[in-house]
C-alpha cells in the first residue's frame, strides 16, 4: 500500500465525541483521519448524506433515519455510552422528574437520543410528554443562557452543556442519562458503504484506533481531558468532570454495535412518534471491524 487513505470524519465539539482525540494521538499506517467539526446535527447529517464527509458520529435516531432514507451508511462502532444529563435551573423548585410538570424543557432535536430519553423517563413517571410539559427544540449552545435567563426550566443534551451550567452555577443535574436508561447508546460512528467496500483495511485500522483511544480514556480520564483541547476546544476541567463525576457518567466501554440497543432505540422512536417505520438493522449494523479489534 502506497498512499494513506484519507477519511473525513464529522463530529460535534461535545464530550460524546471525545473519541475524536484518536486523530491526534493514534499513529495510523494506512489511514489518515481528518476531523471535520460541525456545529449542528442537520449540517453534519447533510454533509454525510451527500458524501461531503466519509464518516460521522451521529445520534442513533439520525443515523437510523438516514439509513432508512436510503443513504448508504453503516454503523461500525458506537461512539460512547451514556453521557447526557437532564439539567434544570438551580433552585429548590425542581428536585424530581415529577417537578417538571408544566415546565419548558429543551432538547437539541426531535431526532436526538435525548428526546427519547426525556420522554422515556417522563412516561415512566406517569407524565404525558405531550401534555404535561412543553418540549422545545433548541441549539445546545443557547441552552445554558436560556436556562440562566429563565427562558427554559431545563434541558437534556450531550455534555459539556450540563456540566457548563453546573460550573456556572446556573443549573444542576437532575438526572444523568445512565439512570434513565443504563448504558444506553447515543452517538454512533456511521461510515459510508463505499468507503467500507473500497478500503476495509483502512476502516479496520480506524476502528481499532478508536477502540484503543476508548480504553485510554477509560484508564486515564484526566490525561484524556487534557488532550482534548485541540479537538473539542472545551476547558479540560469541564471534560474531566464529565468523565469522572461519577465515573460512568460518560462511558467508553462495550462499543461493539449490537442489534439489541438499536432495536430498543427504534422501539422508542416509533413509540414517541419520531419514526413511522423501522430500519432494517441487519443491513445497517456492521460489527465485524469492532469485533475484530476488541
Amino acid at each position: 500500500g502506497g498512499a494513506k487513505v484519507n477519511i473525513k470524519v464529522g463530529y460535534l465539539p461535545i464530550t460524546d465525541h471525545l473519541l475524536m482525540i484518536a486523530s491526534e494521538r493514534e499513529q495510523f499506517k494506512s489511514v489518515g483521519i481528518q476531523p471535520v467539526k460541525f456545529s449542528s446535527w442537520p449540517e453534519i447529517s447533510e454533509a454525510l448524506k451527500v458524501g461531503a464527509i466519509d464518516a460521522a458520529f451521529l445520534l442513533t435516531p439520525i443515523g437510523l433515519t438516514l439509513r432508512q432514507k436510503g443513504v448508504p451508511v453503516k454503523v461500525v462502532l458506537l461512539g460512547h455510552r451514556n453521557g447526557s444529563a437532564i439539567t434544570v435551573k438551580n433552585s429548590s423548585e425542581i428536585n424530581r422528574i415529577e417537578d417538571l410538570k408544566g415546565k419548558t424543557i429543551a432538547v437539541p432535536s426531535p431526532f436526538s437520543t435525548h428526546n427519547l430519553l426525556l420522554r422515556k423517563v417522563l412516561t415512566e413517571r406517569h407524565l404525558d410528554p405531550n401534555k404535561d410539559l412543553k418540549i422545545i427544540d433548541m441549539a445546545p449552545p443557547e441552552m445554558v443562557n436560556a436556562l440562566a435567563t429563565g427562558r427554559i426550566e431545563g434541558y437534556i443534551v450531550a455534555e459539556p452543556f450540563g456540566a457548563q451550567a453546573e460550573a456556572q452555577k446556573v443549573g444542576k443535574v437532575l438526572m444523568l442519562s445512565k439512570d434513565i436508561w443504563h448504558d444506553h447508546i447515543c452517538c454512533v460512528l456511521n461510515v459510508r458503504e463505499s468507503v467500507i467496500a473500497k478500503y476495509p483495511e483502512a476502516v479496520q485500522e480506524m476502528v481499532a484506533g478508536f477502540l484503543r483511544t476508548a480504553s485510554f480514556i477509560e484508564t486515564s480520564p484526566v490525561l484524556a481531558a487534557k488532550g482534548s483541547t485541540k479537538v473539542l476546544g472545551q476547558r479540560p476541567e469541564i471534560v474531566e468532570r464529565v468523565l469522572t463525576s461519577p465515573r460512568d457518567r460518560l462511558s467508553f466501554q462495550n462499543l461493539v454495535p449490537n442489534k439489541k440497543d438499536f432495536a430498543a432505540t427504534q422501539d422508542y422512536m416509533i413509540k414517541f412518534g419520531v419514526a413511522k417505520q423501522k430500519t432494517d438493522l441487519a443491513g445497517y449494523l456492521d460489527d465485524r471491524f469492532a469485533r475484530k479489534a476488541v
Binding site: 436510503g70 432535536s109 422545545i136 427544540d137 441549539a139 443557547e142 436560556a146 435567563t149 427562558r151 427554559i152
Partner: protein, 252 residues
C-alpha cells in the same frame, strides 16, 4: 399583442424551461439529496394537507410584519432626527457604522440572552436586518431635501415644527420609501435565520425542522415558498411605492 407575448408568455416559458432543467438535473441525484420540482410540489401539498403550511406562513408573515413595523417605527423617527441634526448624526455615526456590518446571525447569542426564545428573538433578528436600511435611507433622504424647500419655508416664516412636519417629512418621503423597500428585502432574507432561533413555528422553523428530519424536499418547498412570498411582498411594496411616486410627481 406583442407586448403581451413579451410580458407574460416568454417569462412563463423561461420558468417552464427552468423547471424542466431542474427536473432533468434532479434525476442525477437521489431525491433525498436533490429533489425534483415534482417532489417539491408533492412536499408542498403534503405540508399544506397537514395544515402546517398555512399556520407557518401566517406566523412568519406576522413576525415579519411585526419586526418590519418596529424597524419602521424606530428607524424613521431616529433617521429624521439624525438627518436633521447633523451633529448628532456625526457623533453617533461611528457606532452605526461598526454595528451595521455585523451579521444578524452573529447576534444569535445575545438575542437569546435578551429575548429568550420563540417570537421575540426571531423578530429581533428580522428587525435588525430591516432597521439599518430604514435608518440610513431616512437620514440621507432628510439630508437630501432640496435646499430650496427649506429656503421657501424659512422665507414664509414657518417655524421649526411646521418646517419639520410639513416640509422635511413629506420631502424626504420618497427617499424613505426606497429605504422601506430595501428593508423589505433584507428583512425577509433574514426571516429564515431569525426563525432558526428556538422558534417552534414559521417558515424558517419549517425549513430547519425539515432539515432535522432530513426532508430535503420539504426544505426546498420552504425555500420556494420563502422566495415566492418575498417576491409577492416586494411587488406589493413596489406598487405602493409607485403610487406614492406618482402622487408626489417623482416617477411621473
Amino acid at each position: 399583442m406583442r407586448s403581451w407575448l413579451e410580458n407574460y408568455v416568454v417569462p412563463l416559458l423561461t420558468v417552464v424551461a427552468f423547471v424542466l432543467i431542474w427536473q432533468i438535473a434532479a434525476r442525477r441525484y437521489p431525491p433525498e439529496q436533490f429533489p425534483a420540482p415534482s417532489d417539491v410540489v408533492l412536499a408542498i401539498k403534503e405540508l399544506s394537507d397537514n395544515g402546517v403550511l398555512w399556520t407557518n406562513i401566517g406566523i412568519s408573515l406576522a413576525r415579519f410584519a411585526a419586526a418590519y413595523l418596529m424597524a419602521v417605527v424606530a428607524g424613521i423617527p431616529l433617521g429624521l432626527f439624525l438627518g436633521r441634526f447633523t451633529r448628532c448624526h456625526r457623533a453617533i455615526d461611528p457606532l452605526i457604522q461598526v454595528l451595521r456590518p455585523i451579521s444578524p446571525i452573529a447576534w444569535f447569542p445575545l438575542a437569546v440572552l435578551w429575548f429568550g426564545i420563540g417570537n421575540a428573538p426571531a423578530v429581533f433578528i428580522i428587525f435588525l436586518a430591516a432597521f439599518y436600511p430604514v435608518l440610513l435611507t431616512t437620514i440621507s433622504a432628510v439630508r437630501g431635501v432640496p435646499a430650496v424647500y427649506l429656503k421657501v419655508s424659512t422665507n414664509f416664516g414657518a417655524g421649526a415644527f411646521l418646517t419639520f412636519v410639513r416640509v422635511i417629512v413629506p420631502a424626504a418621503f420618497p427617499g424613505i420609501m426606497v429605504g422601506l423597500h430595501i428593508a423589505v428585502g433584507t428583512g425577509w432574507i433574514h426571516l429564515v435565520a431569525g426563525e432558526m432561533l428556538g422558534a417552534q413555528s414559521g417558515l424558517g422553523f419549517m425549513i430547519v425542522d425539515a432539515r432535522n428530519f432530513l426532508r430535503t424536499d420539504q426544505v426546498m418547498a420552504g425555500m420556494l415558498l420563502v422566495g415566492l412570498l418575498g417576491l409577492a411582498i416586494y411587488k406589493a411594496m413596489k406598487t405602493f411605492e409607485k403610487a406614492i411616486g406618482r402622487r408626489w410627481g417623482v416617477a411621473a
